[in-house]
Symmetry: C2
Subunit: 691 residues, 2 copies
């Protein structure tokens, strides 16, 4: 097949995937949305979510336009003389990237805020129907995302033939992801913590009680944080991994025949195409019997998709007689990704020692519970880092053994790992939908049995989420390593001296860069977490005020003022985004233009290594505390209401911004910083003060 | 002056310093140790401390002998044929290093457990007398340590003329430090947490109440953790920095005339000599008026010593017409060290926003207090990392500008930073002595006024400690960077191929090494903290048992069984040491001999970068929570007994193992790993499976 044929096939399959998403969407929309009461609550959640998205997207539109203009000017001036076309291409790709990510996120939210109530109503019939409603809604986001991403990348490469322009697309997607993920993360945890602290602990009312003024904000938060934010986050890793491998292929085969160079540049796109096919087939296998286990169904989907992908890739490589080294790298990336996912599950699964010991020690109070959860979180980084190291070595040396540049193997391994994206996103988006469904079932008084069915669905979501999260962070890590290689190749390509760019750990500029880069992920996490504590503090005051001034609320005779809480969460999140977002884009540019490309290389390295460690330990400690609390609530170590339970609630609250705000946002942070560096590499290679 | 003259001068001044320490010791011993009651309590603490040290040192003696034999065999076989002398030299230096560190620690402990009661009794007269007693006792440890270190290094170099043998000395000191620091850290926090949780919270008795069965263990802990452990830790940085710079001088001037090479090899020792003189003079300036501020006195000592050191060094360099690049590097290291110390103080000082906001937010419960303290801890790493990066750049380029190898500048900057060691140790050892004095004053009923005087002394110790701790971690960080350079030079020197050893960030083995190295500091911290929670859990059970079974204890009619608690803390700490200590020594060897020198270089890099970040954030978050609690206890945000106070106590308890167990032990961990690597570099360069 010719290059063009592959690109057209990619666009066609992208459209098919998007079409399937729309079909599933209309199926979900047709389901019963129940009683007046449930509709009213669902509408409140939907309106809250829209209000936030409107604010977020209009802010983003402004940012996109400003950035687009800057990119257009900078890249017009970067070549020999004024080349408007280069500038417009990069700016255009950037805006399209941001737009595509926004469309996918929007569609995912749109279906999620409809599927929540429909899942609750379906649960009045049986578990199976409810599971299908929620899972198909999750699949809408997954299929739309994968489809748009592959369509966009193929189209841009078809039009320009230049992977650097596709880099602009990726930068657009990542910039949006950073704001969507971090903003959504702050929003959801502000509402969650405030609702819990005042509602559960002070007022003694249950979770998801309609008398709690923050309950709608809390449910909105699940959607903006876990659907829109998480969707944008994985979209961004998916695109970035593909582009990084394309760039490494492009620069790694500069001296090869043109045809070979183009083949290795588009091979990552071909792998994405196989990924789409595998995901579409894999999603068909998600079936749960009438009283079956939804958790097993979710994990089976992951495993089956993997096997299909590996089989398809192997057949294609062997039939086409493509380089086996690239195949080994792909499969190694995929296999290690799955192993990491399941191993990390050990630290957050209540069948194993970490969760149980942490629950046990909660009997001696909050402090020991916190220390224990943090400690196991620290240990939990081992399987992932070990796996990433193994994937790097296997991919590098297997590529090299078959005559490819070793670094190309690393890029391809990241693409292989992310070929699972479709299933991962579907599994992940399923979580907040069933979580919302449970809330709606409680608030609409749909009865004990329905709530308990929703509970089964919810806990399956949590198990699947723990596994996919370890996977997602590791995939993002391998992606930024690939981006890091791409940055190095870009600099080497554009360095006027033509010297080799070694990035030696003992070069003082690299060393200083690493130390400076190591500062960024902790500070970024801290800014997001402090935003959560600050906003939660404000919202707590507001909830207390409503309870104090409107006594009818707690008696259940007057509806609380949900809108003020929704507004507080929304404004607080958007305001808190400015500084972290600026850090992510400006710091690499400052380091690069001032201390030079070697220091920037070190800076990226430092932020990547420390970033991975922080992302993993925060995600896993958070998941562990959450499950330790649930383990106690299931009647162990004294059960609900005991001192151990109170201590576990503190742990869970600390874990909330760990696992849902700071931890997962670090992925996007390091991706954005790496992309900024690669994109501006041609300029930084030429203009810099020192180094 | 000839090389030999300098070495003899170093040994002479080392002996003078040690002699001064003995003089001060006898002065302290002559002070009044008060009533029968105070003597009895002091004796219980002393006996507890001796019991622990006996166990620790006999375990260490075993380890030292086994290691010594292994080193003797390995290094006898490493050259061409069997060279018993090399093996015996290295093994001997190792054992002498361990012994010197042990002697310094022993002397420090010995004076501390005498000075505590004498300080309490002196406080019955006035503040000034009590301050002098405690401070002079701290100076005993400081002067003994600096004296022994300089004497030992000069002697070994004089006898062998080989800095690699001095490396063996440093390795001995560090191995002991690792066990002493980590063991002491586990001991002290086990007792502290258990005593607080059962005593203060459950039984409602005040801190340092003689009815608490863990109160003696708690006071013993201050001595074994903060005096013996901390002393060994700084001893180890001090020696390691000097040896690293000596090695870099030795390998960096291989092609220079012999005389030049030797000069730059011993220049670090000459700087140590200036450091001793500056410290001895600086310690004279520690004076506090009758009602003056002890905190200011401590900080003044630091600043004055700096100025004296800088002045002496400048005069010497100018008079002797030595290379100005080395002078600039020395002074830059020193100046940046002091700036880092004072900047980091911002995050733990209750006059500034981090402590106050964290105290304020404690009103909304423990969870937000924890999140806030962690977040500020994350941010607090910035000044140190920024400073270390600046010191690296300034030292490197100023050395290079004056024709020296840039890396030599980095080594010399670390020595410059550590020239303050004397004052830092004195200030630090002062802390646990006054803390103990306060406990003894309370337990011996010396009266309100005496306790409040001890309180003033104690809080001055805390302020000084926060500053010296930021300084100590940064100095250790610069030291391991120097060791890292030394490792690279060693490998390059011994690599059979004679190829340049670039340690490129994009070499897959280096990258894999970094990822694996990044795992170590978090896991090491986790193991120590889990040991604390496990042991504290056991001791809590024991205290509860005593209260339950012997009702007379709480009535004050029967003395509790202190010995069982002391034994629990002691055995628990020693048992918990095995795994972390093995990790520190075996991991670098496994990585080096299996994946090769490049992977080991990456491994060291990864553990150093992540280690610095963890050491800093843990130390600072811990200090911040401690002071937030004290700020509330001073009557702010609701004061003692309020909900905010309860939340702050949880934060403080989480912070305990952060700041006194895991955080500071990481320094020693990365030093030991770096030393192991440099020591075995000649072997690893030749024998390795891959790479």
């Amino acid at each position: 097949m010719t290059t063009q044929a592959w690109l057209f096939l990619g666009m066609a399959l992208g459209l098919v995937s998007f079409g399937l998403a729309l079909l599933l969407y209309s199926w979900v929309k047709k389901q019963d949305d129940g009683t007046d009461r449930s509709r009213k609550i669902a509408r409140a959640i939907k309106e809250g979510a829209w209000a936030y998205l409107r604010h977020l997207y209009s802010a983003l539109a402004g940012v996109a336009v400003v950035f687009g203009i800057i990119l257009a000017i900078v890249f017009s001036l970067s070549g020999d003389g004024f080349e408007l076309l280069t500038g417009l291409e990069t700016a255009g790709a950037f805006i399209i990237g941001a737009l595509c990510s926004a469309v996918a996120g929007f569609l995912g939210m749109s279906v999620a805020v409809r599927a929540n109530v429909r899942t609750a109503i379906a649960a009045t019939t049986n578990l199976n129907k409810a599971f299908n409603t929620a899972y198909r809604a999750g699949a809408v986001l997954a299929l739309a995302m994968v489809g748009i991403a592959v369509f966009g990348m193929c189209l841009i490469y078809l039009l320009t033939g230049d992977p650097e322009v596709v880099l602009g697309f990726s930068f657009g997607a990542s910039s949006l992801a950073l704001l969507a993920k971090a903003g959504g993360g702050i929003y959801t945890k502000t509402a969650d913590i405030a609702a819990d602290l005042v509602g559960k602990i002070e007022a003694g009312i249950p979770e998801d009680d309609p008398r709690n003024p923050a309950v709608i904000a809390d449910n909105v938060g699940d959607n903006v944080g876990d659907v829109a934010g998480m969707g944008a986050d994985i979209f961004d890793s998916y695109v970035a991994a593909t582009v990084a491998a394309m760039l490494i292929g492009f620069t790694g085969f500069l001296t090869a025949p043109k045809e070979t160079q183009i083949f290795y540049t588009i091979l990552p796109l071909i792998l994405c195409i196989i990924g789409i096919i595998a995901s579409v087939i894999g999603l068909q296998f998600v079936r749960v019997g009438k009283n079956g286990k939804p958790g097993t169904a979710l994990n089976m989907a992951t495993v089956i998709t993997c096997v299909i992908f590996a089989a398809l890739a192997t057949i294609l490589f062997l039939v086409m007689r493509w380089n086996v080294g690239a195949l080994i790298a792909t499969v190694a990336g995929l296999a290690i990704g799955v192993i990491i996912g399941f191993t990390t599950g050990y630290f957050t699964d209540d069948n194993y020692q970490p969760v149980r010991r942490t629950a046990e020690i909660a009997k001696s109070g909050s402090a020991l519970n916190i220390i224990s959860g943090l400690s196991y979180g620290f240990i939990s980084i081992a399987p992932s880092l070990f796996g990433i190291a193994a994937a790097t070595l296997v991919a590098y040396f297997s590529a090299e053994a078959f005559g490819l540049p070793g670094v190309y193997g690393v890029g391809i391994a990241a693409v292989g790992m992310l070929s699972l994206t479709g299933v991962v996103v579907a599994n992940d988006a399923y979580g907040p939908i069933v979580d919302n469904a449970k809330g709606i079932a409680e608030m609409s008084n749909l009865g004990e049995e329905v709530v308990s069915r929703c509970d089964v669905l919810d806990s399956a979501g949590n198990t699947a989420k723990a596994i996919t999260k370890g996977f997602a962070i590791s995939a993002a890590a391998l992606t930024v390593l690939a981006l890091f290689v791409a940055y190095k190749e870009q600099i080497e390509h554009y360095l006027p001296s033509g010297k080799e760019f070694t990035l030696s750990l003992l070069d003082p500029l690299v060393l200083a860069g690493i130390l400076l880069g190591a500062i960024v992920p902790p500070i970024f996490s801290a800014l997001l977490m402090l935003a959560v504590t600050k906003n939660a503090f404000k919202m707590i005051e507001e909830i207390r005020r409503q309870f104090r001034e409107i006594p009818g609320i707690l008696l259940g005779t007057v509806d609380p003022d949900y809108t003020t809480c929704v507004g507080l969460a929304s404004q607080g999140a958007l305001k808190a985004l400015v500084l972290p977002a600026l850090l992510a884009v400006l710091l690499p540019l400052i380091i690069g233009f001032v201390l030079g490309p070697a220091a920037l290389g070190g800076f990226l390295g430092g932020s990547i290594f420390v970033g991975i460690v922080f992302a993993l330990f925060m995600a896993n400690s958070g998941g562990l505390w959450d499950n330790a609390k649930k383990y106690i609530e299931a009647g162990n170590c004294g059960g609900t209401g005991s001192d151990a339970h109170k201590a576990a609630v503190v742990g869970d609250t600390v874990g909330d911004p760990f696992k849902d705000t700071a931890g997962p946002s670090i992925n996007t942070l390091i991706t954005v910083m790496s992309l900024t560096s690669s994109l501006f590499a041609p300029l930084i290679a030429v203009f810099h003060l020192f180094g």
